[in-house]
């Protein structure tokens, strides 16, 4: 008669699993990395010509070392920055002092007047990173809201829910993210 093989005691399996579980609990970090995505411009060539841009096409945003905001040489406010930027980029009434538009043919959208406006962002070495991110955030929000409006109007859903990459490209072409950061210089000194 064959001997009965004794059953393996599985009682300690829970303990082993608990040990592993606690290890992963401790080492885990649940945070999803997120942030504002930007593309840096390549370094300018030594004797590159600075392209002439009309004054009406530039939206000057300057942040000084005390985190105060200047917009087009006047005091600005972070709370109205988004609305100001939107008005500048959209120029709904085709005002003379706001940027020109150039009609371009874009697939899926047809002829669309693309704004020639450029946002010029300049900050001091003493500006706090928090303020800088807030300004970047407001500017991004302005562009995103405009894209959303156009997307709803043309395709009936918000920009973030567009699935077709061609449509996304079309909207991006119609409302470009034209934020230009000035070459850094030391103004006002570090705090």
């Amino acid at each position: 008669m064959a001997r009965k093989i004794p059953e393996i005691n599985a009682g300690s399996m829970a303990d082993i699993a608990f040990l592993l579980l606690i290890f992963f609990l401790v080492t885990t970090t649940m945070d999803v990395d997120s942030g504002i995505v930007r593309r840096l411009p390549p370094m300018p060539e030594k004797d590159a010509e600075i392209p002439e841009v009309k004054e009406r096409n530039i939206f000057n945003v300057l942040v000084n070392k005390n985190d105060r905001l200047f917009i087009n040489k006047g005091w600005g406010d972070i709370r109205t920055l988004r609305a100001d930027t939107k008005e500048f980029l959209a120029n709904p009434q085709n005002r003379e002092d706001l940027p020109e538009k150039k009609v371009e043919t874009i697939p899926f959208l047809g002829d669309y007047p693309v704004s020639k406006g450029i946002i010029s962002l300049k900050n001091d070495r003493g500006t706090s990173y928090d303020m800088y991110i807030q300004v970047q955030n407001e500017l991004t929000a302005a562009v995103n809201e405009l894209r959303d409006e156009l997307s709803r109007q043309k395709f009936g859903k918000p920009f973030s829910e567009l699935e077709d990459q061609d449509l996304v490209n079309a909207i991006q072409k119609a409302i470009p993210m034209s934020i230009s950061e000035a070459e850094p210089e030391d103004i006002g000194g570090t705090k």
Binding site: A10, M13, A14, A17, F18, L20, L21, F24, L25, T27, T28, T29, M30, V32, D33, S34, G35, I36, V37, R38, R39, L40, P41, P42, M43, N123, D124, R125, G126, T127, S128, Y129, D130, Y132, I133, Q134, Q136, N137, T140, A141, N144, P184, T190, K191
Partner: protein, 157 residues
């Protein structure tokens, strides 16, 4: 009579614990899948600023991190913001080498998609960040990402 009594004993039957390992394993797998190991020991404080227009950082393997912020050990290193690459304090001049090393560590096909994530403390000054950005431009690491937390929007009423 005795047999009758034995069958109707008032003892509560023991709860079977044989399925406990299964439950624990389920939890274990959940944490194993969602976990991301901490790669570096932070030597600087990086409290991310809040923003609303955030995008998720995709493909974690193609991201290299640069930490900037005031040192955690203030007595040893002072309060001025410092740059941390991998596990040690570095200066702005070390950034090109760091980027080259990061590129070397990736497959050639992935290199154009390499993103640099700047994890900067909200109290840091822009001066040091600008220097880092200039170095990144010089070595052609154009794709950057300012690490931020998602702001919880207050309802407008």
């Amino acid at each position: 009579m005795a047999r009758f009594k034995k069958e109707k004993s008032g003892e509560v039957p023991a709860i079977s614990t044989s399925s406990m390992p299964d439950i624990i394993f389920m939890l274990l797998f959940f944490f194993m899948v969602t976990t991301t190991m901490r790669e570096v020991t932070l030597k600087v404080r990086t409290r991310a600023p809040e923003a609303t227009e955030v995008q998720k950082l995709e493909k974690k393997a193609l991201v290299s991190f640069i930490y900037i912020g005031p040192p955690l050990q203030e007595r040893l290193y002072g309060t001025e913001s410092r740059i941390q690459l991998n596990d040690s304090f570095r200066t702005v001049a070390d950034i090109p080498e760091f980027i080259y090393m990061e590129r070397e560590a990736r497959v050639e096909a992935d290199r154009p998609f390499l993103t640099t994530s700047l994890k900067v403390d909200l109290e840091a000054k822009m001066g040091i960040v600008t220097d880092v950005k200039q170095e990144l431009r010089k070595v052609g690491a154009f794709k950057i990402n300012y690490s931020t937390r998602k702001k919880v929007e207050k309802s407008k009423d």
